[in-house]
């Protein structure tokens, strides 16, 4: 077997062509076959004789290309004949294209391939785009509301009977979303408080007010950064996990199986995740607060040479119990938003793995957006309430 594309030998006589097919006409050598047949000049030929005696192999791809070539030759008015019998594969291609083969086919008649219909005018197309998306967003909104309603009903029903709350499942989610997140949440809280302390110390030194670093770190961490950063990390960790878990269960028809067994997937899958996160996120926030304050203390002690006693006295002056509670009370709200975004997008997954990826991404992006948006609302609310 030679590597050269010796696929075809062409001989020219007075009024015709003689084609001798050689070698292996296989799918893997399609480019050679295609190239060889494309170089055959049909002009001036009236008869073409094809010989397959030296052909070593002809598979369906090769036969199809030959079939196309013969069709093209016939269309150009060339008489095509085979030396000996035409190869069986050619007949198979012919029958299949006519819809006669295979005998047990599900096709009723050959349907010509039609390109997908497209609107011609660009103006019409953009109008169509606008309309389509308006309708899609409208439907999306209705579905959002339906999910929210469904969730509220399930939660209300669950509160009447504790067995419906599935405590084991909730515990598992507290573990997955809370306890396993402690190391990363602690690390981020520590680094952030160190960064704030360091940056603010540089600025405040100009005014000789380095001691206010303590105010900045403690109030900043307790009121905003502790809960916000924890929520963003949890949105990335657990929001995506919720969407992916529920989404792949949808693809596996596990959710349908739950329905079929008479188990409400909202009760079995969605509610435990939301409640689990509502328990875990405030606890994580408290841990983040503690580590953040400790980080600030550490930096003040070793970089600003502030004695630990001074840090503590200053901190006690700057913060009250309210400062702490303002931060922590936001956590359950953020937890609900994150869990709802994750579960909702997960439940929307249908049909394909690409959808799973798209909706998981969407879940995380929306969870983070909702958390920051809600935080802004809280800021306005607390300002109005003068807390």
């Amino acid at each position: 077997m030679s590597a050269l594309p010796n696929i075809l030998e062409v001989r020219r006589s007075t009024d015709g062509l003689e084609l001798e097919l050689t070698g292996e006409w296989r799918a893997l050598r399609f480019p050679d076959i295609d190239g060889a047949l494309a170089t055959v000049d049909l002009a001036g030929a009236r008869r073409m004789k094809i010989s397959t005696a030296r052909l070593q192999a002809l598979d369906l791809s090769g036969a199809w290309r030959l079939h196309e070539f013969i069709k093209q030759a016939r269309a150009a008015g060339v008489e095509v004949a085979f030396e000996g019998a035409p190869p069986d594969q050619l007949r198979l291609v012919d029958q299949t294209l006519k819809g006669e083969s295979p005998p047990c086919s599900q096709q009723t008649r050959p349907i010509p391939l039609s390109p997908i219909e497209e609107l011609e005018a660009p103006a019409l197309r953009s109008l169509e785009f606008l309309g389509r998306h308006a309708v899609l967003y409208g439907r999306d909104l209705v579905r959002d509301l339906a999910f929210l309603g469904r969730m509220s009903v399930t939660a209300a029903r669950g509160l009447t009977r504790t067995k419906r709350l599935r405590p084991t499942s909730i515990a598992r989610h507290v573990y997955d979303t809370g306890i396993t997140a402690i190391p990363i949440v602690s690390l981020i809280a520590f680094l952030i408080s160190v960064i704030i302390a360091y940056m603010s110390a540089q600025q405040l030194r100009n005014f000789g007010a380095v001691v206010f670093v303590v105010d900045l770190v403690t109030i900043g961490v307790l009121r905003e950064l502790g809960v916000l950063l924890t929520s963003i990390i949890v949105a990335g960790r657990s929001g995506s996990a919720f969407a992916a878990e529920i989404g792949s269960m949808k693809l596996n028809e596990e959710v349908d199986a739950l329905y079929a067994t008479g188990v409400d997937p909202f009760e079995a899958l969605v509610l435990p995740r939301i409640l689990g996160l509502v328990i875990a996120l405030p606890l994580l926030t408290i841990i983040a607060d503690i580590i953040g304050l400790a980080g600030g203390a550490l930096l003040c002690r070793f970089l600003l040479d502030m004695p630990l006693t001074q840090y503590i006295t200053r901190a006690q002056g700057a913060i009250t119990a309210t400062t702490f509670w303002v931060g922590v009370m936001k956590a359950p709200v953020f937890a609900t938003l994150i869990a709802m975004a994750g579960c909702y997008r997960g439940m929307q997954v249908r049909d394909s793995s690409r959808e799973l990826g798209r909706l998981t991404t969407l879940a995380v992006v929306q969870a983070i957006f909702l958390v920051i948006f809600a935080d802004a609302l809280f800021a306005v609310l607390f300002l109005e309430l003068r807390i």
Partner: protein, 255 residues
């Protein structure tokens, strides 16, 4: 020298303490339909995965067209993979692609081919698998079970392999669809001169299509013709081929 299409010699597969195959031998000749049978957990899928190079066995030789694939590098295996087609039990169609794109994918990976010609060629395969042309633009989730099996078959035939592996080709199909699918396999086997290796539990499929059958028992394989295997004295094989349903088939088969 003419090699058997597939040759497995002394295959050993072990997972921890569990020995799945212990010196399994099999040989598949050109142009035959070879059925692989075995109870659940006897390692049919492990055998298939070993042959396809999806996992390396602890010992043994697996030759496809005379070349040992257990000693091949990943790039050499890539070349071998163009020589056979596989359908998986659940179809394993790529859910994000249409049927047409599913069939085109192996062509894109292995052959340099113009998009228009590739499309036509893929359509030919889709029709050859007995699917209506309008199925080409559909996504796997829009297909019925029977159509998924046919689409998977079309994808397996994309590169015109001489060797075709079918994992439970008729599982999950109703008896009429299963019979139609068997006929399709036989038709394609004859027309394209394929060598077919199928894992199946379906006695009807075995009696309709297989020339020879390999039964995995006691971690090795008993290979024989259909008539021969039916009379094999091994208790599991007896139980399998002489259950109530099997006896009905044998009556009409005249053995």
């Amino acid at each position: 020298m003419i090699y058997p299409v597939l040759e497995v010699i002394g295959l050993v597969n072990r997972f921890g303490a569990q020995l799945v195959h212990d010196g399994l031998n099999m040989e598949v000749r050109a142009d035959e339909v070879f059925g692989i049978v075995g109870g659940s957990g006897t390692g049919k899928s492990v055998l298939l995965r070993s042959i396809l190079g999806l996992q390396r066995p602890q010992a043994g030789i697996i030759r496809i067209d005379g070349r040992d694939i257990t000693k091949m590098s990943a790039s050499q295996l890539f070349g071998v993979k163009a020589r056979y087609g596989v359908t998986f039990q659940q179809g394993a169609l790529y859910s994000a692609l249409t049927v047409l794109e599913n069939v085109e994918l192996p062509m894109i990976e292995h052959v340099v081919i113009e998009a228009a010609a590739r499309r036509e060629l893929a359509m030919l395969k889709i029709r050859l698998a007995g699917l209506p042309a309008d199925a080409a633009e559909k996504y796997p989730s829009q297909l019925s079970g029977g159509m998924i099996k046919r689409a998977a078959l079309a994808r397996a035939l994309a590169l015109d392999p001489k060797l075709l592996f079918l994992d439970e080709p008729t599982s999950g199909l109703d008896p009429i669809s299963a019979a139609e699918f068997d006929e399709l396999i036989l038709y394609l086997q004859k027309q394209l001169r394929l060598t077919v290796i199928m894992i199946t539990h379906d006695l009807d499929t075995i009696f309709r299509t297989c020339n020879r059958v390999g039964v995995i028992v006691d971690r090795h394989m008993e290979v024989d013709t259909l008539e021969g295997i039916v009379n094999n004295p091994h208790p599991w094989i007896q139980a399998y081929f002489h259950g109530e349903r099997a006896r009905e088939r044998l009556g009409t088969h005249g053995t």
